[in-house]
Each structure stands twice: as structure tokens, then as C-alpha cells.
Amino acid sequence: MTRAIPLEAVLVVAAALFCIGLFGALSRRNLVGVLMGVELMLNSVNINLVAFWRYLEPQNITGPAFTIFIITVAAAEAAVGLAMIIAIYRNWDTVNADSVDSLKG
């Protein structure tokens, strides 16, 4: 595995995923779409962590451990984010990011 694929290849994939996620998070109007972009970004971070662990320090458990933490954070983020989206939907009757522009609830 480590012989066949250079570390950089994996990192390029992660970087591409991150950039796509960034684009999605910044440019989609639908709040759920924004959240999906963020999830993509978090995934790319996880790929990075696992790749570095595997290629550089396979004997150190830190990489997987932090991947798990990030997955946890992602789950929490998704739960809170979606709850917020639903709350926004209830108050504004829309889930478009640019329609939600007033400070009054």
C-alpha cells in the first residue's frame, strides 16, 4: 500500500475534497447544502489525518484517535446545524442562506 501510492496522492485527493467542500459551503444557497459542504471539508481533514498516521507514524495511535474525535465533532456539528436549520425554517419559512438576513427571530 504505502509502496504503491505516494502520500502526496492521498493528500491531493484530500485537498481537492476540501476545496470542493469549501466551494459548496460558500456558494450554495440552501443551508443544508452548506452543511453538506462542511461535511466534505471535515472528511478531507480526516483523510489527511489517516494518511499522515499511516505513512509517517503507524505506531502512534494519535492519528486514528483524532480522526475519531473529528468524526465526533462532525456528528455534533451536523446535529446542531440541522437543528438550527429546522429552527430557521420554522421562523423564516425558508432554508435559503441569503433570505435569512434579519436579526429578528
Partner: protein
């Protein structure tokens, strides 16, 4: 063998990137979510290629089994908004596209420039023990080295859970409550009783 792995990796990379592209470009938000799931699966498979089975399974369990489903639920609960014909992206999407591409270029260019392709990577000596990624090691480290982080993550999860419930839950008084027939009946009776208590004279008159 190496070639096989390279092919598999290439396919996986294409799957992950392609699915991610679909996520941000597809008009229908449900399709977008399904592409996201595809992308998650691709990442899980990549973890398997990277010999991190536990992470791969957790990826499937959490991302596909929980987060993706949450997203689908949220889409369906806010359904009638995600209709066709609306603008998909914000008005300045080209700006974000430039930013994203620029960032990718900034990361990728040095990598491509500094990479010496097709040179076997320095791997450990032949007798290197298998990489540690087992559940047991993780468990030990969670209650050892990473105890603090573990606790923090636990608290974060709890807080997120409570927060999500608080945010999404309507206040009881604001919630629309549909009274059942018997409740309505009891209510009317009680209201009549209170009315009778407040104006005993008037009711007496009516009775007369």
C-alpha cells in the same frame, strides 16, 4: 499487486472527487445528499485502502448511518422549499469558485512541484510491526493519553445533543396542540364551571 492497488486508488479518488463535485453542483438537494453519501462511502473505502478498518467502519456508521440520515431528514422536513427552478448558488458563486480553486492551487502546486514521482517511498524496515489501529489500542489510549480530549468530546456530544433538542424543540406554549374530543369536552365543562363561579348570580337568573 501494486498496479492493482493503484488502480483501486485511482477509482476511489475519482469516485470521491466526482461525487463531491456532484454534491455541490446538482440542483436537486436530495440528489445532492445522495451524492454526499456516495462520497462518504468512497472515503470509507479509502480508509480501508489505508488499512484503517476501524476508522472505515466508524465512517460508515457515523457518516452514512447517522449524519447522512440526519441530513436527509432535515431536507424532508424543510421540503417544500427545495423546489426546482430556484437559484442553486448564491449570486457571487464565481468568487467562491476562484477562492476554492486558488486554495487548491496553492496547496497543489507546491506538492506537484516538489514531488518526485515514481520513487519508492522510504518505508520502515522489513520487520516493522503492523500499524496500530485496533480497537483495543484506541480504547486504551482514550482512557490514557487522550483522556482529556475524550472527556471533552463526550461533553461536546452531550451539549450538542441538548442544544439540538433545545433549538429544534418548540416551546410547549408555542406548539400547536390539537385537543381531542374528550379534552375539548372537559375544557368546556371547566370553562362553564369557572364562568358559573365568577357570575353565580347571572347563572341563577338564567336558571330561573
Amino acid at each position: 499487486m501494486d498496479l492493482l492497488i493503484q488502480i483501486i486508488f485511482g477509482l476511489l479518488a475519482a469516485l470521491i472527487i466526482g461525487a463531491a463535485m456532484m454534491v455541490v453542483t446538482v440542483r436537486n438537494i436530495i440528489h445532492s445528499a445522495l451524492w454526499l453519501i456516495t462520497s462518504f462511502f468512497g472515503v470509507a473505502a479509502l480508509y480501508l485502502v489505508l488499512e484503517a478498518e476501524f476508522i472505515a467502519v466508524v465512517q460508515v456508521l457515523v457518516y452514512v448511518g447517522a449524519i447522512a440520515i440526519l441530513i436527509l431528514f432535515a431536507i424532508m422536513l424543510t421540503r417544500h422549499i427545495s423546489s426546482e427552478g430556484e437559484r442553486l448558488l448564491t449570486s457571487r458563486w464565481w468568487l467562491t469558485a476562484i477562492v476554492a480553486l486558488g486554495l487548491f492551487g496553492a496547496v497543489l502546486l507546491p506538492t506537484l512541484a516538489g514531488q518526485t514521482w515514481n520513487i519508492p517511498l522510504p518505508t520502515g524496515p522489513a520487520g516493522t510491526p503492523a500499524p496500530l489501529s485496533g480497537v483495543e489500542e484506541l480504547g486504551r489510549e482514550f482512557v490514557g493519553q487522550f483522556l482529556l480530549q475524550f472527556e471533552v468530546a463526550g461533553i461536546l456530544l452531550t451539549v450538542a445533543l441538548i442544544g439540538a433538542i433545545v433549538i429544534a424543540f418548540e416551546e410547549r406554549s408555542r406548539r400547536r396542540r390539537v385537543l381531542t374530543l374528550s379534552e375539548e369536552y372537559t375544557l368546556r365543562q371547566r370553562q362553564q364551571a369557572t364562568a358559573a363561579k365568577q357570575a353565580p348570580v347571572a347563572t341563577a337568573d338564567v336558571a330561573d
